[in-house]
């Protein structure tokens, strides 16, 4: 079983559209599992129309709670909190639960023992069926922490099912950025497909996400989306990949058919298989499949 993660650094380069197309193409050749690791803005389900089979509660971090009957307004909690999560009130201090990191520092310092911490439900995760294979996905509740922990959970569930059922490929649709949820999505991957675009931001962010996957020793492949928007930057990315010894597995055109497919709730390779975009994605999958075979 191989694990492929799709990342980009910059948001909106087309990770999810590429993931949906890969799910469609790969599932025609082998049994696969899908994991949507962008848990604070999970979009893969919008193009895969999953049927939910299981729903589970995700318990995130803990939050401090002050008992107003016991609080003597000494302000010790306010002094020790480094997250600006304790706010003074008239009769009691109170906790801004969005700012609280649940470190419990205030719990130990309160002379009245008026503070305790409670675990919070931070989201839900699901096992679903799609026409391309099982999908593990999640909804982190608005403004919650611990997205890295939820990403790990979704991915781990996908991996376990793939191993149990002898499925050959786990496709992980990653979040943007390079921080905590990205590091979690990338962990344990055999290959990282970095989707970039030929813009100053795309190039800048490609270098940072490449540094991140290198740091964690996952081999990277590059796909340039919207390649014809700026041929000079596309050539620059190609030269950069050659210099770094990173395989470029494809170039996709700038094409609003991707959005049309999204509106119709379909991967672009299923919506318009024979257009330029569909063809480019199939060629990319052939390249990717070879690389994955090499990793097998």
């Amino acid at each position: 079983m191989k694990q492929l993660v799709i990342l980009s650094g910059k948001g909106g380069t087309g990770k999810t559209s590429v993931a949906a197309a890969l799910a469609h193409l790969a599932s025609q050749e082998m049994p696969i599992v899908l994991a949507d690791a962008d848990v604070d803005a999970a979009n893969l389900e919008l193009v895969l129309n999953p049927t939910k089979l299981e729903e589970h509660v995700f318990m995130g971090g803990q939050v401090a709670i002050i008992d107003p009957d016991l609080c003597q307004l000494c302000g010790r909690c306010y002094d020790v909190c480094r997250f600006e999560a304790i706010l003074p009130g008239e009769d009691t201090y109170w906790v801004d639960s969005l700012a609280c990191e649940g470190c419990a520092s205030c719990v130990y310092q309160c002379p009245e023992e008026a503070i305790h911490v409670e675990e919070q439900q931070a989201g839900l995760w699901f096992r679903s069926d799609t026409r391309f294979g099982p999908l593990f996905h999640a909804h982190l509740f608005a403004a919650q922490e611990n997205s890295g922990k939820l990403v790990t959970l979704v991915k781990q569930q996908g991996r376990l099912l793939a191993l149990d059922e002898g499925r050959e490929l786990l496709i992980v649709d990653g979040p943007p950025g390079i921080g905590c949820p990205v590091i979690s999505a990338n962990a344990g991957a055999d290959l990282a497909l970095l989707v970039t675009e030929p813009t100053v931001s795309g190039v800048h962010d490609l270098k940072r996400i490449l540094g991140t996957v290198n740091h964690f020793q996952v081999p990277a492949l590059v796909l340039i989306n919207k390649a014809d928007v700026n041929p000079a930057h596309t050539a620059g990315i190609e030269a950069f990949c050659r210099a770094q010894g990173i395989a470029l597995v494809g170039k996709l055109p700038y094409d609003t058919v991707v959005t049309e497919a999204m509106v119709h709730g379909q991967p672009v390779t299923a919506y318009r298989p024979d257009g330029p975009m569909g063809r480019a994605l199939r060629e990319m999958w052939a390249q990717l499949r070879q690389r994955l075979n090499g990793a097998w």
Binding site: D40, A41, L46, P176, G177, I178, R208, T256
Partner: protein, 291 residues
């Protein structure tokens, strides 16, 4: 006036809108502070091209044990909810990547044997971009926590001076880095595209900004004309004002790909951004009245 620019979905044009709003207001004589709070992928400097003349390393304070005083009692490990400090026989191990810098181990050590040292996670840089005071944070590659960098970026620049207008460019997503960016803002400007992905993530971001943080919000529809009517219908149903529309235009995509801002490439947009600001100011005023 503090305006946070956010989106949920990535690549909808947050930085495009934030930089062009800043340039239009600054050219009109408004004092302006611009902070790029997307510390994982800070891109605004590529467009505003500030002269960065100040740089400092930032991070969190992590424990360092003084073994002359440590009795290996294990109290530090007991109070650490992150398991970032462990006592194994006659050794105390600190795991900086797990530490959140809360200081609880230091406060709880009965021997006073722990002091704190800076664990560098990134840097802050600042300078002028013409009339605009500019600052951004950069998370080091391989580091996980963006929030401490955002917190320090905001604290450094927003503590004292009144800048007229402060624009905060947020990262994509809806979790802690975005919340940290929006905290303390007067208004959250949500940049979206009229597609199912754009709408789905817009809904989530409205939940964060309006429902959780209690801030007034307004929408900029970018790449207007692509996709479907979902965003318009949603905004109408929820009473969220659409403050500006930027049409789908390959010229804009090309200019931005080369590092130009929207108002540099197409100066006819300047008055639209000034109008956008006026509408934001009206929204903030009426929100305060309602409150």
């Amino acid at each position: 006036m503090i305006i946070a620019v956010a989106s949920g979905k990535g690549g909808t044009g947050k930085t495009t809108v934030a930089t062009s709003l800043a340039l239009s207001l600054a050219a009109d004589g408004t004092g302006l502070l611009f902070l790029d709070c997307d510390v994982e992928e800070p891109n605004a400097a590529l467009f505003l091209k500030p002269r960065l003349d100040h740089r400092e390393e930032v991070g969190i304070l992590i424990p360092e044990v003084d073994f002359d005083w440590c009795t290996y009692c294990g109290r530090c490990a007991e109070v650490c909810v992150w398991h970032a400090i462990a006592v194994v026989g006659r050794k105390v191990l600190v795991f900086p990547e797990l530490c959140h810098g809360c200081g609880s181990c230091t406060l709880n050590c009965p021997e006073g044997a722990i002091h704190e040292v800076l664990h560098v996670m990134g840097s802050l840089e600042s300078g002028q971009a013409g009339p605009i005071a500019f600052g951004h944070g950069i998370l080091n590659v391989g580091e996980a926590m963006a929030v401490p960098i955002i917190r320090q970026l905001k604290a450094k620049h927003m503590a004292d001076a009144d800048h007229g207008v402060t624009i905060l460019d947020a990262s994509p997503g809806t979790s802690c880095p975005v919340v940290e960016t929006m905290r303390g803002a007067d208004f959250v400007l949500l940049v979206t595209e009229p597609t199912p992905f754009g709408l789905h993530d817009l809904r989530l971001t409205v939940q964060v900004a309006r429902d959780e943080l209690g801030l007034p919000v307004g929408v900029v529809v970018n790449r207007d004309g692509v996709g479907d009517a979902g965003v318009d219908e949603y905004c109408a149903a929820k009473g969220i004002p659409i403050l500006m529309r930027i049409p789908l235009d390959r010229r804009i995509a090309q200019a931005i790909s080369g590092g130009k801002t929207l108002v540099e490439a197409l100066p006819e947009y300047r008055p639209h951004f000034l109008e956008l600001y006026k509408r934001i100011a009206r929204e903030v005023a009426s929100w305060k009245e309602v409150r």
